[in-house]
């Protein structure tokens, strides 16, 4: 007997899974989403935050480019509060292949990506820290996207329409009846026991982990995760996104996200999507490459480095470097391939196109289920959309205006006690989860001042639920894993001062074994 019955089980709480859940809910299809950790703890929480204009793909992957610009416009409409409308530039450096400039303009036109050439004076006015050594500059409607906010919005909207979400419920097996999956077995990690979710359909939205999920279900699916490293600088450096105008390659983009700038990326093929290690040489390489566009980055302060696993799908016979694999997405029907008759896998794609991926997937599923409701996700705005675009100064303005916001617990990211208390009251007790929800500990001190304050608040609101010093230790160690690759200069001063606070003043000694996996942003 199943513990829970539903029409569709969605596996994976990243951007795709949450977008699918919302799409199903809007079409009146009952669904349960299961996620092994917290929302956005896989690739959707480990990316650079770029709302693609498509410019990056116009020459190399025109299909992706068109998908990007369509979805860019859609997200600006349905979720403007998750978007900072920064705009973006493509800068052609003198050492680049100069003919790429004309090719870029032509490809933008073909793919429908708006593109305007700026004079060098206009460009420098817009981005004062740009190198003076420029050949040409093009403006495109890039932006930045808060992925966690978007996923939170999808889930809030879906659950308000009856969908259910089970976090920290990894899939451990599938109950089959012939070639049909009858139920999904998940492990409730808090309770330490398994639960069975009876269902008619399973939608595998596990991204880079989709191969593992499909295999567990008796299907066959080969993912080719591409590991990409990124570097977080302590301040923004640029007002909008800055891209190197050449074929996509390593270290060619600077994305200003909230208070920081993220430099991206590298691409290393890997077999294990949980391998998110960063080689210090990748850090050095990206700083040097991005400093070609914005020289101040060469001597700037680095906060941390992290990597994520791109959910790339490689058809069995394809060969070559993983950057050559298309960024477009595929809906795979396992009944036509290899296995269960009621399993669909959605693979490939990018965070920018998550809504469109969900639409195509649910179109396929709805047809199979005989549901004829049209997709409404491109029209119905998310809760919070009335706020309009996110602006960098919004959090500060809110804190300054509203006395009831009270104490600032995280000064770097302007996180108040009231917001932490509200999140804890809703059941979040792990500091690392509060970090993703509230941006706690993202700033220059990397949690040194807010970490223990937040641990105390959690224990005060929910006594005994999460041992505060162990909670704090996990948080500090998580922050450290990202910093460790990039400690020098002012970062080294900060690291040793933080160490002097926690080991010196507070005499906190390591109690726990290092965690096996790391989560990031």
């Amino acid at each position: 007997m199943a513990d829970l019955e539903t029409q569709v089980v969605v596996v994976g709480g990243g951007a795709t899974g949450t977008a699918v859940l919302r799409d199903l809910a809007l079409r009146g299809i009952d669904a349960v989403l299961v996620e092994r950790a917290d929302l956005g703890t896989g690739t959707s929480g480990r990316w650079h935050g770029l709302l693609h204009s498509g410019g990056r793909y116009v020459v190399k992957d025109p299909v992706s480019a068109t998908e990007c610009i369509e979805e860019n416009m859609t997200l600006r409409r349905i979720a403007p509060h998750c978007v900072e409308d920064t705009g973006g530039l493509f800068v052609l450096l003198p050492e680049n292949e100069q003919s790429y400039g004309d090719a870029f303009v032509e490809a933008c036109e073909k793919t429908g990506v708006p593109c305007e050439e700026l004079s060098l004076d206009q460009a420098r006015k817009r981005e004062p820290l740009l190198t003076p050594n420029l050949s040409r500059v093009f403006a495109v409607p890039d932006g930045t996207l808060d992925g966690w906010k978007l996923m939170g919005g999808f889930v809030a909207d879906a659950t308000s329409r009856g969908a259910r979400v089970l976090l920290r419920h990894p899939v451990v097996g599938f109950e089959r009846d012939g070639d049909q999956i009858r139920a999904v077995r998940v492990r409730d990690t808090a309770a330490g026991e398994d639960r069975l979710i009876g269902c008619q359909w399973v939608l595998n939205a596990a991204g880079a982990w989709a191969g593992q999920v499909a295999t567990l279900a008796g299907g066959r699916l080969r993912m080719a995760p591409g590991k990409g490293a990124m570097v977080v600088m302590v301040s923004r450096y640029v007002r909008g996104v800055v891209n190197d105008c050449r074929m996509p390659g390593d270290g060619d983009i600077i994305v200003p996200v909230h208070e920081v700038a993220i430099l991206g990326t590298t691409d290393v093929e890997t077999n294990d999507p949980d391998d998110i290690s960063v080689d210090p040489r990748e850090v050095d390489f990206m700083i040097d490459a991005c400093a070609q566009m914005v020289p101040a980055i060469a001597n700037g302060r680095v906060l941390r480095a992290f990597s994520g696993s791109r959910p790339l799908y490689k058809a069995e016979d394809a060969a070559g470097d993983s950057r050559d694999i298309t960024r477009a997405f595929f809906v795979l029907d396992h009944s036509e391939r290899d296995g269960p008759g009621n399993l669909l896998s959605i693979v490939g794609g990018k965070l920018t196109t998550c809504r469109q991926m969900a639409e195509r997937t649910v179109d396929v599923l709805a047809a199979k289920m005989g549901v004829d409701a049209d997709c409404a996700t491109a029209e119905v705005p998310l809760p919070g959309a009335e706020h309009g675009f996110h602006r960098l100064a919004d959090p500060l303005a809110t804190v300054e205006k509203k006395v009831e916001y009270g104490e600032l617990v995280c000064e770097c990211e302007l996180v108040t006690r009231a917001r932490i208390e509200a999140a804890v009251d809703q059941g979040t007790t792990e500091l690392d989860d509060l970090r993703r929800q509230l941006r706690l500990g993202f700033g220059p001190c990397q949690g040194a001042f807010c970490g223990w304050r937040a641990a105390a608040i959690v224990d005060d609101r929910r006594p005994g639920e999460n041992e505060p010093l162990a909670n704090l230790e996990r948080f500090l160690e998580e922050r450290w894993r990202g910093q460790r690759m990039a400690v020098w200069g002012d970062g080294a001063v900060q690291a040793l001062l933080n160490h002097a606070i926690y080991r010196g003043t507070f005499d906190l000694r390591p109690q726990q074994e290092p965690a096996e996996t790391e989560r990031e942003a």
């Binding site: 210090p280 050095d284 700083i287 006395v403 104490e407 600032l408 617990v409 000064e411 006690r417 040194a448 001042f449 223990w452 304050r453 641990a455 105390a456 608040i457 224990d459 005060d460 006594p463 505060p468 010093l469 230790e473 500090l476 160690e477 922050r479 450290w480 460790r484 690759m485 400690v487 020098w488 200069g489 080294a492 001063v493 690291a495 040793l496 001062l497 933080n498 160490h499 002097a500 606070i501 926690y502 080991r503 010196g504 003043t505 507070f506 005499d507 906190l508 000694r509 390591p510 290092p514």
Partner: protein, 411 residues
């Protein structure tokens, strides 16, 4: 400009060295980029709390187990005794009595409810936690959480309960620090109203733990006054920076320097030395429009390690001593000077300049690098002030040693 001895750095080592040198009759000037560890630390005197990760009960018992070139091994135990005596006298004269001695380490309560091992603690942190302990939080003060502190104390076997006290009304910014609150408590009216509330909240307790914010301007007087008014023993718990006990000590050193006629130039990073005939002749300071040269006979570097910015860690993994370019005992690349776990010891914390027993920095051949130059405090190699719990002890013993060495030298 001219000085006899220039001390570079205004942390515990530089301040203590300047006082000791001036008391020994030298004419001294301090030039520093900014404040040092006084403002960051827990406001106690750590001498030697751990060796190889194990606690030592009596600091001097741990010294033989330290590496051969550790500053405590380079210097006689007697120098450390004199340094601690000298510190106790200065602190007491400034109304900042410290409890404890080199005979036994003791414990200091922290905001996390841990009991950190240290050697000397200021009197407001020194009352025994005997009987019923009330841990008192002040509403709206974010740097102390009574529940967390009490929980730690209970885990350590103490009978600790939690009490909340609303602060009397006072004029402050919405987000106030320990220093803001300490200044408010300096005001007699505010303090008297706070005392009434504290007394009410601690009626059933034998001792009360409070955040280390009980007054700043008049040494330990505000603490003593609150004890008198409330009739209960008060124990200040160490907080994250800024450190009120550290600021009190900084003020005491500053007052003594003023009495001795020592000038303190803060906000002037020293960028280099001038040298003639193998001997230092001047220090060069970054000025607003041009370098400022201060001629002198001796230079004492008290610029700190990597944390104090006396040493700069570079992206390529090299470590650069910022004033004289002295060789730094370091590591091959940046991945090797850090531990995988944040809370473990980091080799970078022990990076420093190798000196001889007269605190002269050595060049790569093992000979004194430059006449007239000495190094003190966390700048020295072969010790890790955080991992060992030795920061203030190293600062004081090297400061005393340098003053004793230079006292005999001609002015």
């Amino acid at each position: 400009m001219r000085a006899d001895v220039v001390v570079v750095g205004a942390g515990p080592a530089g301040l203590a060295a300047a006082v000791a040198l001036a008391e020994a009759g030298r004419q001294v000037r301090i030039i520093a980029r900014g404040n040092g560890f006084t403002h960051w630390g827990p406001g106690a005197v750590d001498v030697l709390a751990r060796v190889g990760g194990k606690e030592v009960g009596r600091p001097l018992d741990g010294v033989p187990e330290l590496p051969a070139r550790h500053p405590y091994r380079l210097l006689e135990d007697e120098v450390l005794r004199r340094a601690i005596d000298r510190f106790q006298r200065l602190a007491a004269a400034a109304g900042l009595a410290h409890e404890g001695s080199l005979d036994q380490n003791r414990r200091q309560v922290t905001a996390l409810g841990t009991l950190r091992p240290t050697c000397l603690v200021p009197a407001p942190a020194a009352r025994p936690l005997a009987g019923r302990v009330a841990v008192v939080g002040f509403a709206g003060f974010r740097d102390f959480a009574a529940g967390l502190c009490a929980r730690g104390l209970r885990d350590a076997g103490y009978q600790a309960s939690v009490q909340a006290v609303e602060l009397p009304s006072w004029s402050h910014e919405r987000h106030f620090t320990a220093v803001d609150l300490a200044r408010a408590i300096d005001d007699a009216g505010f303090r008297s109203r706070l005392a009434d509330r504290l007394a009410g909240a601690t009626r059933d307790a034998d001792v009360a733990v409070v955040p280390a914010v009980l007054g700043l301007a008049a040494g330990h007087e505000a603490w003593a006054d609150l004890e008198r008014r409330t009739g209960i023993a008060l124990v200040e718990a160490a907080l994250a920076p800024p450190s009120v006990p550290g600021l009190r000590l900084y003020a005491a050193w500053l007052a003594r320097l003023r009495e001795l006629g020592v000038r303190l130039q803060l906000g002037f990073p020293v960028t280099g030395l001038e040298v003639g005939d193998g001997r230092v002749t001047a220090v060069v300071t970054e000025g607003a429009s041009r370098p400022i040269v201060t001629r002198c006979n001796e230079v004492v570097l008290a610029t700190g390690g990597v944390a104090g910015r006396g040493i700069q860690a570079q992206r390529d993994g090299s470590l650069v001593e910022v004033v004289a370019g002295l060789p730094v005992q370091g590591f091959a690349d940046r991945m090797h000077y850090l531990a995988d776990r944040f809370l473990d010891d980091h080799p970078l914390g022990a990076a420093g300049v190798v000196v001889d027993a007269e605190l002269r920095p050595l060049d790569t051949t093992g000979k004194p690098a430059l006449d007239g130059l000495r190094c003190v405090g966390s700048l020295l190699a072969d010790h890790d002030p955080t991992a060992e719990g030795s920061r203030e002890g190293i600062a004081l013993v090297t400061a005393t040693r340098v003053a004793e060495l230079l006292a005999a030298a001609p002015v």
